[in-house]
């Protein structure tokens, strides 16, 4: 880092400051990447359960259809959809940056905003589809 000398020393913030601390868009994408990943890890058995029910037989498929029509289950699926979409798109950004594209502070904040907007819009579409608006 060429500007390391001119920079303020890095310090850790206290846990209680996390909520009030304003992260730049790239920081938001980063922590949401981690949170979405952790969420999908925790809900892995739920996803496998849904997959199992949806595919095993016509009877289990009917159960699956009834099960996913419950509003709380829809909410869980919406959370998972957001997690997948955000993780996917933020991951794409990672792969692009791995190729040394858009690494500057300015560009990375811009691409982070794009990630947040795309995953937000797609999640909104999923929500509308799930709850029968479209």
């Amino acid at each position: 880092m060429s500007d390391a000398a001119g920079r303020k020393r890095f310090t850790n913030i206290h846990v209680t400051q996390i909520i009030r601390y304003r992260l730049p868009a790239s920081g938001m994408v980063s922590i949401l990447h981690r949170i979405s990943g952790a969420l999908m890890f925790l809900l892995l058995p739920f996803v496998l359960f849904l997959f199992d029910k949806s595919i095993t037989s016509e009877i289990s498929f009917e159960f699956f259809k009834g099960y996913v029509s419950h509003p709380l289950v829809k909410l869980a699926i919406l959370a998972l959809s957001w997690a997948y979409l955000h993780h996917f798109i933020a991951g794409m950004r990672h792969l692009v940056m791995d190729m040394h594209i858009g690494l500057s502070k300015h560009e990375s904040v811009k691409s982070a905003r794009v990630v947040l907007i795309i995953s937000g819009v797609l999640t909104l579409l999923v929500a509308m589809k799930l709850f029968g608006v479209i």
Partner: protein, 121 residues
Amino acid sequence: MANNNIGPKRVVVGAHYGLRDWLAQRVTAVVMAVFTVVTLVLFLGASDFSYEGWAGLFAQQWFKILAFVTFLALYYHVWVGIRDIWMDYIKPVGIRLTLQVFTILWLLGCAGWTIQILWRV
């Protein structure tokens, strides 16, 4: 950097200071992305959401194997990511090792379940 890669100070629950997992995380991500796109195209290409269409997709041997490989990629990817989380937030070696072992066993269990689901169709 101090030489802590050997002897009693060696970090046994660390990231092995290597490229392997970093690269594996990228490669598995690409495998999953390809599978996601293929599945979306095949599935949305079909007219409506019926059991025949959905199960029929997974009944084909090539798709079953593609799905299986993708799930394996997923579990490896999860291992790298969750291990990163344990390494960042859990400092006591004993707890960290326990969580890491639990994660591996858990993912192996999920892999077994995945085989059962896929080869029942």
